[in-house]
Amino acid sequence: MWMIELPPFIPFFLGALILLFTRGMLRSAIMIAIPIVSAIHLSMIPEGIHLQFTFLDYQLAPYRVDKLSIMFGYVFHIAALIGIIYSLHLRDTMQQVSAMLYAGSALGAVFAGDLLTLFIFWELLAFTSVFLIWARRTQRSYDAGMRYLIIQVLSGVILLVGTLFYAYENKTLAFDYIGLDSVAGWLILIAFGIKCAFPIAHNWLTDTYPEATVTGTVFLSAFTTKVAVYALARAYPGAEILIYIGAAMTCFPIFFAVIENDLRRVLAYSLINQVGFMVVGIGIGTALAINGAVSHAFNDVIFKGLLFMSMGAVLHMTGRINGSDLGGLYKTMPKTTILCIVGAASISAFPLFSGFVSKSMVMSAAIEEGFDWIWLMLLFASAGVFHHAGIKIPYFAFFAHDSGIRANDPPNNMLLAMAIAAALCIAIGIYPQALYSLLPYDTGYNPYDATHVLAQTQLLCFSALAFVWLNLKGLYPPELRSTNLDLDWIYRRAIPNALQQMFSAIWQADRALWDSLKLRLNIYLSYFSGKNNRLSILLSRNYPSGSMAMWVAVVLATYLFLSFIE
């Protein structure tokens, strides 16, 4: 073969370097060319380990290609291409370079064959993506970026500690099945869990994604969590605890999503909900479930990207993103409206859209393995995701009451990016075999049997009916300008307040202590001076020390004088 087997992160990193020295059309052309060329290159690479060297007695394999990693490799190329087209109108070197580096880091992480390489790209993911948040250049985004960075780096540090434990126990750094029977296993699970937005550790996502730039959020939504899903699928397939964690992830965010006003934050909550389905699939661990998790990750990158792009388009054109400020935009943004509805139908898993062909695998696996309660929770979450992402997002942005905003459809590059994503959503939905052929296992699964299609359509139509009924009855919570407290309240408000209280208590105690000490000292001083006063009546009471010196001089002079007389 004429080509060198280069790991895919290299073209992206080189591309980022070239971007620094180019301008205008040339820069745009290079940005589009890199993911296309890199994807073609990737498709020609056979499975196996293509790069290997020894470092301090450990075998490192920075480039390993197998069925699992190549799936994520492809979808990251697609996401990078779509994101780049979406951001072509930008004239912001910082964002373009960091997006390129970020996509490269994600690719580096999924092709990492050892834990040390994984750790390096894990941290690079954090450091490159934070600029997409800071690029908004507001105080809010700066603060949110800082919080994001702290949590992401913490995840990396835990991963490093876990890796050290793992290397010590197993004498290898190979990144394969890890399992939960050692301390190292748990530490690495926690590290993955933070990036995967497990409950309690999920707030970095809902806190920062809505604060990033219009185009930055599209990139952010594609990579970080999916890298974590990939890592879980490789290291912990069949870990039962993941089923319960995943089921919790599918259910709790939908409550927050229903009352959230910032529509991009609604999508951030629904991102956690979708990742929950993947985590459940990994936890079940059968061939069907893993296939479901991986293909759902693949589809989610595309349809969640599409939804974030459509909301980004709304923000870009109107400058607003709160449900309470928007409405009636279908009148002047018809193309965006239709593309958004395609994304909404995909995430809600309508038959013939991409979400359906992957989510149903996870559901089927849950029921096959006898996880009845989990299955009911997933069913509830499916109805809920349609409710908040499928209906609420398009409804409050484009329909509902007329806000009077008459914004046009966004620039053509944005529309093109959304159209590509929408086309992929529909294509995968209609012809899922193309996606299935890429999957790690061959299960011969067919999503389009009458039972499945009917059940899902019934579920969704009656969820829609519930929405209509609640709206007509006036029971549906109106969009209000508000902040809803979530667990980030603990580190954004409670802990700072508690620290403030603690320091003020410390300062008060400190002051009281010093005051009493000073008082004591004064008492002692006056006691001694009083005593001295009583002792020395003649010389010291009312005379300064200078007079004493003078008298001594007088005595000495008299003495000298007397010695001369003799």
Partner: protein, 108 residues
């Protein structure tokens, strides 16, 4: 505004039409339940109209619970940067240890 073009859903009739389509779809889907022979994997699925009922009820429960959550989770929009009086009162209801302004003094 008065000369503005009439759009699709400005006409309440069209909204009605859309809703009627939805109602008909829902009715059809329930009827299909009897027509199509489904191979079920779970006992619950054998219940009459299980999926429609589950979908409807879970959405209603979801919205009612979420609305109730607003009563203790909702704060003003600028809560983290510029909290209003109500925010502070709400917080001290939840946690008395917090937000007693003026207790700490600037060290002199």
């Amino acid at each position: 505004m008065k000369d503005e073009k009439k759009y699709l859903f400005d006409n309440p009739k069209n909204v009605k039409r859309l809703l009627h389509i939805l109602y008909v779809c829902c009715a059809l889907l329930v009827v299909l339940d009897f027509v199509i022979h489904r191979h079920t994997m779970h006992d619950l699925e054998k219940l009459w109209a299980f999926y429609p009922l589950y979908g409807f009820i879970s959405c209603v429960v979801l919205v009612i619970v979420a609305t109730w959550m607003r009563t203790f989770l909702m704060r003003s929009e600028d809560y983290y940067y510029n909290p209003t009086e109500t925010d502070i009162n709400n917080d001290s209801l939840n946690n008395n240890a917090l937000n007693k302004e003026g207790e700490h003094h600037v060290d002199d």
